[in-house]
């Protein structure tokens, strides 16, 4: 399974989301590759992704996709990430 985290620069915020998503996946015992990318490369990077994690600002630009687009409000709240990933993946 592939999960993509999206931000404007592809460093910084998407990296934080990747690190915390990996922590949550380990705790949920789910196996997935998490890739951080910038919004301009979303079409390529997320073509084979099941889930896209991002901020509300990017939902419209991400547009039509086969992946579940999950909006994260607080990037540091692993409880929020756990609940939303679990709802999408289980």
């Amino acid at each position: 399974m592939k999960i993509v985290t999206i931000c404007g620069a592809g460093i910084g915020s998407s990296g934080i989301l990747k690190v915390n998503a990996e922590r949550v996946l380990r705790k949920l015992d789910l196996d997935a590759t998490v890739v951080a990318a910038d919004i301009s490369s979303v079409k390529d990077v997320a073509a084979d992704a099941q889930v896209i994690l991002t901020s509300p600002e990017f939902v419209e630009t991400i547009g039509k996709t086969f992946a579940d687009v999950i909006v994260i409000e607080n990037y540091f709240d692993t409880e929020e990430l756990t609940q939303k990933l679990r709802a999408a993946l289980e």
Partner: protein, 148 residues
């Protein structure tokens, strides 16, 4: 997982900013003061927000100001700016912002180790409030777990 350098010169406490642009500029100025970015880096960080919206406000009260690696970046580094009066970035959930983290990263391949260290600090849910309430640079460094 090592935190990018956060020297005293990159910490500003109780600053006054008229709006989010001024707040981000302070974070950029602090990165320039510690020698890891050129003054123009502030403009790049502001441009990211103008282009993509206030997504850098990644948690309640906290903005992670950053731009891509580029000619304005001279080294890896962090800055911390706390505001006397919080400013609004126009974020749907996480306004108002009283703590700005400035992040400069020289090469993209190293950024994950840096942000993993940042995530470690802020997964502790009191860190943002503790930073906002800090009164000395030493206190900020302690909250950010900067090795003494």
């Amino acid at each position: 997982m090592t935190l990018p350098p956060l020297p005293e010169s990159a910490i500003v406490i109780g600053a006054h900013a008229a709006d989010w642009r001024a707040a981000v500029t302070l974070a950029g100025d602090a990165l320039a003061a510690s020698g890891v970015a050129r003054p123009e880096y502030s403009r790049e960080m502001i441009r990211m927000i103008e282009e993509h919206g206030p997504y850098v406000v990644i948690a309640p009260g906290l903005a992670l100001a950053h731009a891509r690696p580029g000619p304005e970046v001279l080294g890896d580094g962090l800055s911390v700016v706390t505001l006397a009066e919080p400013v609004s970035f126009g974020h749907p959930y996480n306004d108002p912002v009283s703590v700005i983290l400035g992040l400069a990263i020289l090469t993209a391949d190293r950024h994950l180790a840096a942000v993993a260290a940042v995530a470690n600090i802020f997964n502790d849910s009191t860190a943002i409030a503790d930073l906002a309430a800090a009164t000395t640079a030493a206190e900020v460094q302690q909250i950010m777990r900067v090795p003494a």
